[in-house]
């Protein structure tokens, strides 16, 4: 047990003009504990919808999600979420942001404090515990977001383009941090990303989704995440296999985008 099962998920939104949009169609997936799944796809392929259903923010029109045998019906602390940006509470300092989950659960401060200090060290913010959120750079803020999620000790961590708003250098550093945290904590992680490179680097498994209707296009099992743990990620990128996979997936997504554009031109 200890796994996440996504069972034949479909999602259809009704539009005000009477039509409807099929955001997801028959998506099935199973994740064992400790797996890191990267989800990639062009815009409109339903990857964020998929994540929101797993998080419990959306109810699917068909199918269900179960975690450890329990069906997901709403958001819960066993499924932590890391957002792109702006999801931290800027009226609290770094420490109080990190301890938000335990505090809400009513856990005593004495019990939470060592956990928070530990996490501050893990994400490299040991000197920034008393800073306010708006005093931190974007990269530091995402470190806080990761620590806040981990403080709640969730079974699954859902990341919605957590590094999307960072500059290239910071992003590279943060990718290393994500791998390190994954290895150290053994959490199951689903990571949504726009970047093919990031998906290849971080995804132990990689799901390429196709749009209209949102569905699984292709799935890969990749060695690069294991390779990258504790190593310079630039070395991983130099691997020949890495470059081949990147070209293959880029081509795949290009074709999907072309198809969408073509269809739009036809209708126009």
């Amino acid at each position: 047990m200890g796994n996440l099962v996504i069972d034949d998920l479909s999602m259809r939104f009704d539009l005000p003009n009477g039509g409807s949009v099929q955001a997801l169609k028959n998506v099935s997936l199973e994740l064992a504990k400790g797996e890191l799944l990267a989800v990639l796809g062009p815009s409109g392929c339903g990857k964020t919808t998929l994540l929101n259903i797993v998080a419990g923010f959306l109810a699917p029109t068909d199918g269900k999600v179960t975690l450890n045998g329990k069906t997901v019906t709403g958001p819960g602390p066993e499924r932590g979420m890391v957002f792109q940006q702006g999801a931290l509470f800027e009226w609290m300092n770094v420490r109080r942001n990190i301890s938000f989950g335990p505090d809400m659960a009513g856990r005593p401060a004495a019990e939470t404090r060592p956990v928070v200090e530990n996490l501050l060290r893990t994400v490299g913010l040991q000197d920034f515990g008393d800073k306010m959120i708006y005093e931190l750079s974007g990269g530091m803020q995402q470190r806080v977001a990761l620590a806040r999620c981990l403080a709640n000790d969730p079974d699954v961590i859902l990341m919605d383009e957590p590094l999307g708003a960072l500059d290239a250098l910071t992003r590279e550093k943060m990718q290393g941090l994500v791998l390190k945290l994954w290895k150290e904590t053994g959490k199951t992680i689903i990571l949504i990303t726009h970047s093919v490179e990031e998906a290849l680097l971080l995804g132990e498994r990689l799901l390429v989704m196709a749009p209209r209707p949102g569905r699984i296009h292709k799935e890969y099992n990749l060695p690069f995440a294991e390779m990258g743990v504790g190593r310079d990620l630039r070395l991983v990128k130099k691997e020949r296999e890495f470059a081949e996979r990147r070209e293959e997936i880029l081509g795949m997504i290009w074709d999907m985008e072309e198809e969408i554009m073509g269809r739009q031109e036809e209708t126009a």
Binding site: A55, F57, P75, P77, F83, E90, F100, M104, C149
Partner: protein, 422 residues
């Protein structure tokens, strides 16, 4: 017009002098001073504190100069004050002419002065006259009344200081003007100068001394602090009640479809109604007492606070709420730890606006009817032409309004330091 031109001239002169002085000064090489493009770069523009100080000095300087104040060394010409005279030439019914003098003593209103003396030795039929005239006023002289044969037909005054004059004609004498009325009397207007009469604009020190007087003795049997305090008290009471009801109402409108739908028409309708337009209705319903004023201010604050609280709730990023849910927070915890703190900056902005509106509204309401308060003080003083109290009241109202805004801004900095940095 002259005042305006003078003000523009002072502005230009101060600007020019400052530029010359600045060019000689050692320059600070801060970031803004090293910018080569400053025109159009709003961030390179900051208020020049020299200009602010000179501006205030210039305002008081002009005020002082045009009121003959003791605080300014230079004054524009004041009204003529002192003794003066002119000689008139009269012709009697027999066709003879004779000269006599009108002695005038122009005095500041409020002073007690005797009539000027005339010489007892009067050779001809025309007899000297003596008059007292208040500064800025005019007086009517009737020289014929004491002239021998002055009431006869054929008597008339034909010249002033040798200049011929006829009914409805005007001539100048050394310190003023004389106009002959159609009945042959002389209307004398001593020169008024350029200064303002204290009943139109008192000198700054007159306002200050009035402040001291009212601060010590009160106005209309109510102390100054009581006047200002009761205005402030009404504002605070109205604002607090408005916030207590408006903020939860705004939250409810931001969180529930039903509340939003129910109160939307009311709030959107009441928001554009200026509180001043409610004064007549409030007076009809609640009278002119304390209760009516607090209700008026409550209404003034209510809609502003409701709308700002609603905007604060609507402005919360959904990812913050989602994050809190996925960290295991309950609805109440999200309200208390996410939605309320997130809305505080908006609420503070609303509170600043509401306090400003309330302060303006209370003064206006007191102008209409009140037994005490800053507005009542100035409207009551204006009925007795106590211009110094009116000006004093306006200055105090301005200072308090400005003070309220500064206090609100300080509270905002202290309580919501994250404002605008989300």
């Amino acid at each position: 017009m002259i005042v305006f031109l003078l003000y523009v001239a002072i502005f230009a002169a101060a600007f020019g002098l400052y530029r010359v002085w600045e060019r000689k000064r050692h320059h600070l090489h801060d970031f803004a001073s090293l910018k080569t493009v400053t025109f159009g770069d709003e961030s390179a523009v900051s208020p020049n504190r020299f200009a602010s100080v000179i501006s205030i000095i210039a305002l008081f300087g002009i005020w002082g100069a045009f009121t003959g104040s003791a605080i300014t060394p230079l004054h524009v010409p004041g009204p003529f004050v002192g003794d003066t005279s002119f000689t008139y030439t009269a012709r009697n019914a027999a066709g003879e002419t004779d000269d006599a003098t009108v002695f005038m003593r122009v005095y500041r209103v409020g002073e007690d002065v005797p009539l000027p003396e005339t010489s007892a030795d009067q050779p001809g039929f025309a007899v000297d006259d003596a008059l007292k005239i208040g500064a800025w006023r005019s007086a009517l002289a009737r020289p014929h009344e004491n002239d021998i044969g002055g009431e006869d037909d054929g008597y008339s005054i034909i010249a002033i200081d040798g200049q011929p004059i006829a009914p409805d004609g005007t001539v100048r004498f050394s310190d003023g003007e004389v106009t002959m009325t159609s009945k042959g009397s002389l209307s004398i207007k001593p020169d008024k100068g350029w200064q303002m009469e204290p009943i139109w604009l008192p000198a700054p020190e007159a306002v200050v001394s009035r402040l001291v007087e009212i601060a010590n003795d009160g106005y209309k049997n109510v102390s100054l602090w009581n006047h200002l305090g009761s205005s402030l008290g009404r504002v605070v009471a109205g604002f607090v009640i408005g916030s207590i009801i408006g903020i939860p109402l705004g939250y409810a409108m931001g969180l529930s479809n039903w509340f939003r739908g129910w109160f939307d028409p009311i709030v959107e309708f009441m928001r554009p109604v200026p509180p001043l337009a409610l004064i007549p209705l409030i007076i009809i319903w609640f009278g002119i007492g304390e209760q009516g004023k607090v209700i008026l201010l409550f209404l003034a604050a209510l809609w502003i606070m409701t709308i700002s609280a609603r905007a604060g709730v609507s402005g919360v990023r959904i990812s913050k709420v989602h994050a809190a849910y996925s960290l295991g927070a309950s609805k109440w915890q999200i309200l208390r730890h996410v939605i309320v703190p997130n809305s505080l900056p908006e609420i503070f902005t609303g509170a600043r606006v509401a306090m400003g509106v309330c302060w303006g509204t209370v003064v206006a309401a007191e102008l209409v009817a009140a037994d005490r308060g800053a507005g009542m003080m100035i409207v009551n003083a204006s009925k007795f032409q106590l211009t110094d109290i009116v000006i004093l009241g306006i200055i105090l109202i301005g200072i308090i309004g400005y003070g309220i805004d500064i206090l609100m801004r300080m509270a905002e900095k202290w309580l919501v330091p994250w404002k605008g940095r989300g």
